[in-house]
Amino acid sequence: MIRFVNVTKRYPSGYEALQRVNFELEQGQMAFLTGHSGAGKSTLLKLIMLMEHATRGEVLFEGKSLTRLRKRQIPYHRRRIGVVFQNHSLLFDRNVFDNIALPLIISGYSGAEIARRVRAALDKVGLLNREKHSPIVLSGGEQQRVGIARALVHKPDLLLADEPTGNLDPGLSWEIMQLFQQFNSVGVTVLIATHDIALINQMNKRQIQLAEGRLVADIPAGQSR
């Protein structure tokens, strides 16, 4: 699904966020991207989302190089990916339903289909009775679940999450991780960047470890330390 080949990312300031990173994430896999803040986790996700471009090396998505993607094609690439952010990135001037519907409206679904899919997504994250609420009245955990529903409502092939449990207590974090695992079990490829070691160890999944922009360890599932 995703392959990094000798990827280096140097920012204009000269700072090298990633250095010669190589790894592959196969279709249907679930993996954690770990490391301290500043290790390059966010940069790696941004390269997949094409929010940044590799300075050297190649990022491949389903065998196709992202470096050769034209600017006009970037939106279509992003529609195949669901993203969850630490700060939820919800729009507070519209209700929960409209927030989740956004990717479907962008992809051009009809009203009835949008309603059906949004309700299905809300049901999965357990917020069916909140569709008319503004995100502002929801708790942090609920907002994060709205973000997850939005990331998954258009059935993406790949789910990326950047510190999705950053602001949540351990109980809520565990629930969110269970949600990710559920989606993974129906075939969605999942890559989660986090530094929550305790949680990762509980999950027992593959870990890709970054330190100062280098890939320092790639631990297969079932071998967590």
């Binding site: 929010m51 990135s89 956004l102 051009g108």
Partner: protein, 321 residues
Amino acid sequence: MKSGSRHSGPGLLALFRAWLRHHGQVARESLVRIRQTPLQSGLMIAVIAIAGSLPAALHQMAGTIKGISGDISRTSDIQVFMRTDVSNQSALEMADSWRQLALVEQVELIDPEAGRAQFESYSGLGSVLELLDENPLPAVIRLTPVEQIASDPAAVESLMNELRAASGVEQVQFDFQWLERLTALLNLVDRLNLVMGLLLGAGIVLVLINSIRLMIDNRKDEIIIVKLVGGSNEFVRRPLLYTGFWLGLLGGCSAVLLADLASFTLCQPVALLVTSYALDSLGSGLLSLGESLTLVMLCAALGLSGAWLAVAQHLDAIEPR
């Protein structure tokens, strides 16, 4: 058309429908947003209305005056003042001979007595003439040129030269010099109006660029999120373009109302002017349907281009980082 002869993917049709649906939806939503910010939008619309109505009202006024002056020039006469020593009899003969001229439609002799009567009735200074021993007024022959040459200064001029050459003629007058000046003035007003219109149009565009730029700034977070979940540039800019279009359209409608209001206010003085020239043709002074539509569409187009320029300048800079 035969169905099934060509494979048209239902996906494509559905996407087209979705595209149309999104246009309708965005058009509605941007109107609602305009209503939700009444002060800001109202100001914008007022600016467009004022900038749009000024040239329209001026154009309308110049048009009305032109119509009147056209009527005047068509009814203008050439006045031939005879020397006071020319007898009534020879003046009458002269008038008769001029009746034969091809370019003259009508000839009327106003002898000194008739001239005196006219002077008394028009000027109210009849008593002044009574103080004099004899009538100081000359005989006047009034010629009405045929309509075709009334608006042709060169033809009128050559006719006047011919009349001047006749014996016993003191002076030949035609009221077209001030008309010429008025026409020149009106042409200047037209030209001025064009320049002013262009400048005000540019003003509308600039004001809109600024307003849409502010909107982009205010909706920065939204734009970033939309781009992150796969919204194309077209998708992001559509509501902004519609906003520019609506502001222009609403401003244009207000401009029509303002221009009509201005014309309406000027209607009475213009009507007075018209009656003083004994003319009966006068338009309502209001913009015609075609003119109104042109003004509205022009303002809408300016609004759209302002939004387009703002979007082209600022939207690319907002990318998720």
